[in-house]
Symmetry: C2
């Protein structure tokens, strides 16, 4: 009887594994995540982990540093980062810079939920890679006057609310919070119009501002 119960439990577990859906079901995510599974990460590496904002740049070129590796995926959410962390964690990288939250906010999860997902991510990295220096970057503002993002309508204030929670989280966990928000926001709380052509994503010159803000942490 014990064997039958164990067999039944094993079958239930297998069935639940087979049915497990990815938290980010996007086809672009799936392709890029499989690429990242093949690309090795070393203990000398500096990982730029994030969503489309990170994906859009050539970080090794911006920093003129071959150890800097792009691990951004368009549309990704913080639980999506978690699902693809294994190849990064195994590499025990020197530093990880995290840029996440705006897509989570667009899914209406709220500031507390973003901070909670970030807590899971940061504590996982701390646990698995105790020598890795972790940098949590603030969520950047967006600008719904340049182009209307329906999923972000009325959520301008959630960005600084989230950033306040991320800052407190970093203080609690003993990791570095990098507040980029003031560099990108105008006096109405929007992403500066000159830095974007769609209200959300960044033009080349905005990446130079971002790069300059990170330089002291990358080179430290």
């Amino acid at each position: 009887m014990k064997r039958v119960i164990l067999l039944f439990m094993a079958l239930v577990a297998l069935s639940s594994m087979a049915q497990k859906k990815p938290v980010n079901p996007d086809v672009y995510y799936a392709r890029r995540a499989t690429l990242f599974e093949y690309l090795p990460v070393y203990s000398s590496d500096i990982i730029m982990l994030g969503n489309s904002l990170t994906d859009g740049a050539e970080w090794n070129e911006l920093f003129d540093n071959c150890h800097v590796k792009n691990r951004g995926i368009v549309g990704d959410i913080i639980p999506g980062f978690m699902e693809r962390m294994e190849p990064i964690l195994q590499g025990q990288p020197r530093k990880i810079f995290i840029m996440g939250g705006i897509n989570d906010i667009s899914h209406k999860v709220g500031a507390d939920s973003v901070a909670s997902a970030m807590r899971t991510l940061v504590t996982t990295i701390k646990d698995r890679c105790p020598k890795t220096q972790i940098y949590v970057q603030s969520v950047l503002p967006f600008n719904n006057e340049v182009r209307h993002w329906k999923s972000l309508q009325g959520l301008e204030k959630v960005v600084p609310e989230t950033n306040a929670k991320l800052k407190a989280l970093c203080a609690e966990l003993g990791v570095t919070f990098i507040n980029l928000y003031p560099l990108f926001v105008d006096d109405k709380g929007n992403l500066k119009a000159e830095y974007t052509n769609d209200g959300l994503h960044l033009m080349g010159k905005a990446y130079l501002i971002w790069r300059d803000a990170l330089l002291p942490y990358v080179n430290k």
Copy 2:
């Protein structure tokens, strides 16, 4: 009177410049092209020039070579490459690998027109960068059974037709043609289903096939 005519001609020229529309009006293209204007290219560099297929990879990591630089932009067409060549040409790179044509084909321009656009691009590089080694890669197949791309419907045979013209063009201009098509095509003329999740773009393992095919040319 002569001065008035010259002034009038100057005004006409200025007005035509102001009205000139980009050949690729996409907002993503505009953002990434402005980034590429800020990233220097050196005479030791190997440029991966292309569309989404090139954009999607981390080429410096695939080749473990810091001199390899990604100059791919999602959705780009060969005339779009031409409009953003200046920062690349000024750098006099060691090698340029070109992957283009599938988006042009989706715009129904035909094989002759793709080859004609490629001729303009290659002759411009040869003229401006006489020391640069130029590699024209074949257009890859797609698979409309995995996902239906309406803009590519019924155009499967235009891909090998285009490749035949690109091969002849390369022979005529004295540059290297790299035929990747046989590595990616199944026996029905489609992109191998295992290499894609949307019928057009590449999974991680397909980038390894591509990388291995280019290695002899990159390391030469």
